[in-house]
Assembly symmetry: C2
Homo-oligomer: 149 residues x 2
DNA sequence: ATTGTTACTTGCAAAAAACAAGCTATTGAT
DNA sequence: ATCAATAGCTTGTTTTTTGCAAGTAACAAT
């Protein structure tokens, strides 16, 4: 990593990390479209070129926004996944979606999704995050008795 | 305007409009730092160059995110202001601020601001917007009696 | 009348993106 | 064991965008 930040203004900091035309699209693929593999990103409709994709994957990994690991079932495949830092960009992406849903006359966002952004933003965020959360080891059991099925 | 959208995915649409390293910084200056003039933008600490600034101001105006008008007091000065479409990007910027506040160890965001993002996001948004809203003509008076000071 | 300011524009070099091809380590099929 | 296919990249080359310096037109201030 060579780059310095232009400033420590938080907007500027954010833009230095993901303020380009591709980084958030890759993260969208990973988080909202559940894509995991290089070829899947390459096939996205916006048509990223392979060198740019390789570059952005590396940058996102360097910034700690995504992580990669080998596919246990297939040694030639690599699986990309979001880190917590990456998942914390969900609210940013959802607000972009809300804005585009309002101003793109031909937007692909459904009315239902827009409505949910207004009515249940937190639930939506939790739902999107949940699929990436490790199956959680149960915390210290509550003292209240619970019936088991 | 020559450009087409890469797709109607809302993330992609948003990035096509403001997904570069400068557009949101200019909007930050206008909305959060109350800057209005070309020179003020030029003087921002990130150091935008003049041709890029001119280009982005034009794009932002073409996209309906900012508007320009002549300064009534000084014919050679032009004043830039956010439109409603621009103000509607406040939530996006606030979420970027929240993220950077969390992950930039040297962030310029105060603890108080971060706290307010969590505790009173809507109030914060209203407060930021309010300074750009036209002094509103009073709406139809409410029927409930109100005492006047 | 001269000098300074403001909001740009223009020209050029450097950096980044897009486009096209090639390379290497698995695989799976024969 | 060999061979073609596939996945994940690299490596050129061209095109576009950026950064930097200088210049200009319209006004303002002295």
């Amino acid at each position: 990593m060579k780059k310095q930040w232009r400033s420590h203004c938080p907007i500027s900091f954010g833009l230095d990390v993901f303020g380009d035309r591709w980084s958030l699209l890759i993260l969208r693929d990973i988080i909202f479209k559940e894509k995991k593999r290089y070829q899947e990103f390459l096939n996205s409709e916006e048509g990223i070129s392979t060198n740019i994709l390789a570059d952005r994957l590396k940058l996102l990994e360097d910034h700690g926004i995504i992580s990669k690991k080998d596919d246990p079932d297939n040694k030639k495949q690599i699986l990309y996944a979001p880190t917590k830092k990456g998942l914390d960009l969900i609210p940013v992406m959802l607000e972009i979606i809300r804005w585009s849903g309002r101003y793109d006359l031909d937007t692909a966002v459904s009315r239902e999704f827009i409505a949910r952004l207004s009515n249940d933003l937190d639930g939506l965020i939790r739902e999107v995050r949940s699929q990436f959360e490790k199956p959680q080891r149960l915390k210290k059991q509550r003292h209240k008795k619970e019936s088991r099925k």
